[in-house]
Structures are given as C-alpha cells and as structure tokens.
Symmetry: C2
Subunit: 218 residues, 2 copies
C-alpha cells in the first residue's frame, strides 16, 4: 500500500523529541490512522492562546478537509493549525504504577489550511467528509444546493507535514525485578463500536428499513 507513497516529511515539528522509538516515517501508517478515525482535534492559536476543537474530517490522497466554521473566527488568513487524530487501542496494565500507559495510534498534521472557494473542490471536500464517516451516504442523501454550498466553510490542509506515533504490545516491566511481585499484567484492549441505528422518531409510520450502507457501520 505504501510503496508508491513518499515517506513522511521531517521538519523540526515532526522530528520527535520524546519517545523517538514510537515514531514511524511510514506513510501507510498515517493513512491507516486517518482512515480509522471519526473525530480529529483541531488546534489553533487565538489571541496567543491555544484552543483545541473536536470536529469531523475527511481525507484524500494528499489533503485533509474539515469544516472551517468550527474554528471561526480564529481561522481567517494564514493561521497555523495542528490537527491530531488519536485512537485509544488499549490500557497497558503493568506491575508498577510507573510503567502504566496506553496503547494508541496517533497522527499530527501541521500547516496553514487553505480556505476552499472553488465550488467544485468544495463539493469534493464535503463529499470526502460525508463519505469518510458513512461510505455511500453522499449518493443516498440530498446533496448540497448552491445556497448550502455557499454557506459551507471548508478548510483544506495538506498532509505533507505529518508525524505518527504508535504504541502496541504488553507492558515493559515483564523482565524487571517487579515481575517477581506476581501481579497480573497485560493489556485491556479498547475500541470504538457503533450500535444498532436508531430511527428518527419523525419517521414513525413510514415503512423504511435501515439502508445497507448505514447498517454496515454497526
């Protein structure tokens, strides 16, 4: 999957200061982390202060799209952002408190997002956002009309400057003196699940089964 893709860039921001061993330059890992996520956390600087806003996103081969409105009014002009996508994969239960931690996959993307103004790219970006969350929904739902398209603020962020970090596996104190304590140790795996879809009560009376592309989420 990654053979034709470039390695991730190395800039002062993406060169990992801490836990270098967890960093990986593999572009396929970035793609996998972004594909598996539903919420990203958008970091912006507002009046000198950091602000972190959770929001949905979509991706193409080289661009991450997100709604601009979530960050307004802070994102006019050429403001730098950091978009982080993180998955909690498990709780690492060690023998000693000091070695506890989590298994995770996380990606950070840095850059100055571009405000999307071209209507065709706006449609493409919104399609990305919707299809990222519910594949098949763009063709099923009513697509944006001209007025809605004009009202949508969309930001495009290049995936060029990105870093990823991953931790997997058991705790690190299995061969330390603490192993002699005889404590249970291991990992409690975690994952996000979707449950049975819940109909809008306003559909009452309509004989309308859950479409297959929505049912597939659960």
């Amino acid at each position: 999957m990654s053979s034709s893709l470039p390695a991730l860039s190395t800039t002062p921001r993406t060169r990992l200061g801490r836990m270098k061993k967890r960093g990986t330059p593999d572009r396929a890992v970035l793609d996998e982390i972004l594909a598996a996520g539903f919420l990203c956390h958008l970091g912006v600087v507002v009046d000198g202060y950091p602000m972190v806003v959770p929001t949905v996103y979509g991706v193409t081969q080289d661009t991450l799209y997100l709604h601009g409105s979530v960050a307004s009014p802070s994102l006019g002009g050429d403001a730098e952002v950091c978009v982080t996508v993180a998955h909690l994969d498990g709780i690492v239960v060690a023998r000693s408190v000091f070695e506890h931690g989590i298994n995770y996959r996380s990606a950070m993307i840095f850059g100055v997002p571009r405000q999307v103004t071209d209507p065709d790219e706006k449609l493409l970006g919104l399609r990305c956002l919707v299809e990222h969350i519910i594949p098949g929904q763009w063709d099923y739902a009513r697509q944006p009309n001209r007025k809605e398209l004009a009202a949508s603020t969309l930001l495009a962020l290049s995936l060029e400057e990105a870093s990823v970090k991953v931790r997997t596996g058991p705790p690190d104190d299995g061969e330390s003196p603490d192993a002699a304590l005889g404590h249970w140790a291991g990992v409690v795996p975690a994952r996000l699940v979707f449950d049975e879809p819940v109909r809008d009560p306003l559909l009452a009376g309509l004989d309308l089964p859950v479409p297959p592309h929505i049912r597939r989420l659960s």
Copy 2:
C-alpha cells in the same frame, strides 16, 4: 449532584461564539464528561505554533492532573494550555448532506498549568491518573518509589475556566421539506468498549486470573 457545585465560569474564551444553544453552564455535565473520558487532547503553543498532544489524565473536585512530559519541552514557565475531552456518541444521519453531524459531549479547560513539586501532591496526582483509568489499580500495583516520583513530571490545571458542549438527539431536518424525500434518518450510536483483557505473554506458566478490578473494565 451539581447543587453544591459552582456554575462554570464565563470568560471570553468560554463564552461560546458558535452554537450557543449547545453550551451549558452545568458543572455536573463537566464532571460527567471528564469522568467518562480516557484520553484528553492537550493544546499548547510552541514557537507560535499550535500543537495538540493526546494524553491520559485524572481529576479531583477542582483540578485536572496530567503528565508534564507529554508537552515538554514546551511547558516550562507559565504557558497557557487548552485541554479538550470529547466523546463521540453517535453519527447523525440526516435527509440532506448539509444537516449531517455528530452527537457528542465535549469539554474544554483553559489555564496555566502548575508544575507539581510537592511529593505528597505528586503522589495524589499520580494516584488520580491511575485510578481514573483503572479504579483499584493504585492499591494493587507497586506504587512509585522516591526515584520514580522524582522522575515523574506532573501538571495540575484548575477546572475553574471551562466550557462544555453537548449535542444529542435526532437530525434537525425531520420537519423540513427534505422529509418528503422519504430517506432514512436517525442516529448511529457510538461508544468506546473494552474487550477481554490480554495477559502479558511473560506471565506464561503463572496461574494468575485477571483481578476483579481489571475485569470490571470490559
């Protein structure tokens, strides 16, 4: 639960610019969002750029504790941070693309974190972190020794300046002209689950069942 707690503060940062109707001044909602979370996203400004780092946390009545090392070297002195905890509760499937969204609960806490230096408070804070994730684990695992305690960098952030946002319920276009399209609409609920604990392979040969307080997570 909230009767004896103060309402959340209102500062320029926590006064909601967008979607005011989703804001709530209820302190109990903040507590519930923080209690239900495992990962927070810590926003800091590094050389003028935003950086968003996922990390674990713990809470007391008035303070959020987190590992300082995740943000080093950016968090010396009196740097402002924003800590965001967000739960994805469901995907809101509307008739029109424009009305799609998510159900969520999110909290943002702003302030200048304090580096914890007092050994007693450090123990309390680390206990908070561990017990937040695995209640009962502090007394089960080996607690930090003096050397480990000295090596732990812990930050304390007051919960004083915080805001919360919540969206629940079905999509908003059930009474719009789009309802006549006859599309399925509703919510696909989402939640984080923990699976069966996985033993550290280095426990092989030991007859050691999963302790009840760890089993309770799944």
